[in-house]
């Protein structure tokens, strides 16, 4: 490769007569500075993300208990996942329910909130952005939810409902299979005003104000018209970013359910794929099996991402 480059330096020929590889090399040389700018990130990224990920993919095909050297077992892990493991099927069902409820809802909700905040004056903007981002900054924020949904009659929700006479006896919100799913979905939605919301705020903030002035001259009457004709088309990239975050957030839910209802939860009612991977990875130390679970999850998210990208690209530039 180095040889070719020096040859090119000696006798520069018109570009269109060269072969494709030579043209590629020419482009690469022309844009050398770009590669230098990408180098630091991709160097670190390769070492700390790509290589570990690529090296752990084959783990799904092995049986690995962290002590002995992994040994190859073929597709056994994947086979038993779908055929023998009943809990995995429950986990898939739960994950899909969570994904359908929390993913789109939290995405739309954070967009609406970011938009509403954008309509306020500068001081209130900072204030409300802070208020809605606060749960993401508070460690163990959902402790408060444990108090609210506590199963005895002192739990806030129970005591209010008992006082009002709506229920006769304290409900076990966190261990009764009928309520667990709903409770966890509510808490999950509440927790989801995180990175995506903040990124959307930045997206709103980055829109050129001249666009709005132009819109006013063209005769836009109200906020909603403005939102659909100017704001959303100009927000395309930020919307995509938030979508990717929403997808990965929706499919990797598990920590909220685990800390509210325990791991494993009663009758696996809020057991998700992520919980299942944690169960096998960090409790049973069956790393091979855990890797296989993660791989399935990854495949599902890739498909979902592809679908959402193609939908979003229709509505934005």
């Amino acid at each position: 490769m180095a040889k070719k480059e020096t040859q090119e330096q000696k006798k520069p020929r018109p570009i269109n007569t060269e072969s494709k590889t030579a043209y590629t090399l020419h482009l690469m040389k022309m844009n050398q500075a770009c590669y230098w700018m990408m180098l630091p990130f991709f160097l670190l990224f390769t070492f700390f993300t790509i290589i570990p990920v690529v090296m752990s993919l084959p783990l799904g095909l092995t049986s690995f208990n962290l002590v002995q050297f992994p040994h190859y077992v073929g597709l056994t892990n994947f086979y038993s996942l779908f055929v023998n493991d009943d809990v995995f099927l429950i986990a898939i069902k739960n994950t899909l329910i969570f994904a359908v409820f929390t993913g789109p809802f939290s995405y739309v909700l954070s967009f609406i909130l970011a938009w509403l905040i954008n309509e306020m004056n500068p001081f209130l903007k900072v204030f409300f952005t802070f208020v809605f981002y606060a749960p993401s900054m508070t460690p163990s924020a959902f402790v408060i939810w444990q108090l609210i949904f506590s199963g005895d009659s002192y739990g806030y929700l129970n005591s209010i409902l008992l006082d009002l006479g709506i229920i006769n006896s304290a409900k076990q919100w966190l261990t009764d299979v009928t309520y667990m799913m709903t409770v966890v979905i509510i808490v999950q939605l509440w927790m989801s005003m995180g990175a995506g919301f903040l990124a959307l705020r930045a997206g709103f903030q980055g829109i050129d104000t001249a666009l709005y002035e132009a819109g006013a001259i063209e005769g836009i009457q109200n906020r909603f018209q403005e939102l659909f004709t100017i704001t959303i088309p100009a927000m395309g990239p930020s919307l995509l970013f938030a979508a990717v975050l929403a997808i990965s957030g929706a499919f990797t839910v598990g920590s909220v359910g685990a800390s509210l209802c325990g791991l494993p939860s009663t009758a696996y009612a809020v057991h998700t794929v992520m919980n299942h991977a944690q169960d096998y990875g960090s409790i049973r130390y069956e790393m091979g099996y855990a890797s296989a679970i993660c791989f399935v999850l990854f495949a599902v998210m890739l498909i979902c991402n592809h679908v959402i990208r193609s939908v979003l690209s229709k509505y934005t530039d």
Binding site: F45, F48, V53, S136, A216, Q225
Partner: protein, 324 residues
């Protein structure tokens, strides 16, 4: 320009019908309104909004906001409660006799540690500052190329790689990460905590997406003026990306501040503030107050950064200055 229009009106008026005149007048009035709006803009008034709408939005947000800010409020209240109030059941949502006892206890415990407490503080501050500075620099450089140089070979592949890696979650990756770091001799150094956090795809994708909204004409103009890729990035693109950079800083600072070190660092002198705080808090139910006090202390730096970053964003954005 406004004068020109006014001069033309009387001539065209006689020839055209009165409707056209009305339309023009209306448009002029609107333009006047917009001039007013432009003046008001410095006060943050939205052009197409109404006062009633503003108030409705405020009430809606305030109601939802109470719900969101609750855990933060609760942690602070708990940290101010004296022992007698902490164990009241059911827990009260307010504090009758606020006390600084929990905080002074926290620092009393912290003062008696084997490694001086200041060392933990230094570790955390050092790591956080280095990660934040390196991350912002590295990510901005890379994001510029990934958004604004579409004709370099490998452009599509690199972008795909970033998005794909954001979706990858693996509970098994950390094993390989540990193996690689051990091979490079980074275990038990600051680098083990710093380097993996510098190159995270989320920040890069955030910046890439935001930079791609910048008008290509500015970049072409910079190129014509003789600026290279690096200079275009830092002198033309970055100054226009204040909101995104502020968000990036909030993310990376928060992440870096909460790094615990885990298996990567086991030398006591290298451990961070969150590690020691959780160790202090983990030692029994009698330290209930200290748990909340340490949570509040740990929350302060990210909170300050958040407020500084967000309020700087709210200054009027530099317009791109484009006249197409």
């Amino acid at each position: 320009m406004a004068e020109n229009v006014q001069n033309q009106i009387p001539e065209s008026l006689e020839a055209a019908n009165e409707k056209a005149l009305k339309k023009l007048r209306k448009r002029q009035k609107k333009r006047g309104d917009i001039e007013k709006a432009r003046v008001k803009k410095s006060k943050g008034k939205h052009i197409n909004g109404s006062l009633g709408g503003d108030i409705a939005i405020f009430i809606l947000l305030a109601l939802l906001g109470i719900f969101m800010v609750f855990p933060l409020y609760y942690s602070i209240v708990q940290s101010l409660k004296p022992i007698s109030e902490l164990f009241v059941f059911p827990p009260k949502l307010y504090v009758l006799q606020p006390t600084g006892e929990n905080f002074s206890n926290l620092f009393k415990v912290a003062g008696n540690l084997w490694v001086p407490f200041s060392r933990y503080v230094f570790n955390s501050v050092f790591i956080t500052v280095v990660i934040t500075v390196m991350h912002v620099f590295v990510v901005c450089c890379c994001a510029y190329v990934l958004s604004k140089c579409p004709n370099i070979p490998g452009y599509r592949f690199a972008n795909q790689l970033i998005v794909t890696s954001m979706l990858f979650t693996s509970t098994a990756t950390w094993i390989m990460q540990f193996v690689i770091m051990a091979k490079m001799g980074m275990i038990n150094t600051y680098w083990a905590m710093i380097l993996p956090s510098v190159a995270t795809p989320m920040g890069l994708y955030l910046m890439r997406q935001n930079m791609s909204t910048i008008n290509d004409a500015i970049i072409d103009a910079a190129r014509v003026d003789g600026a290279g890729a690096f200079r275009t990035c830092w002198q033309v693109v970055i100054p226009n990306q204040k909101p995104a950079i502020a968000t990036l800083i909030i993310f990376v600072f928060q992440g870096a501040w909460n790094i615990q070190g885990g298996a990567l660092v086991y030398k006591e002198q290298l451990k961070t503030l969150p590690t020691i705080m959780s160790q202090i808090a983990a030692s029994g139910i009698a330290r209930q107050g200290i748990i909340y006090a340490s949570a509040v202390v740990l929350m302060i730096p990210p909170l300050v950064i958040f407020l500084i970053a967000q309020s700087n964003v709210m200054e009027t954005m530099a317009n791109s200055g484009m006249k197409d």
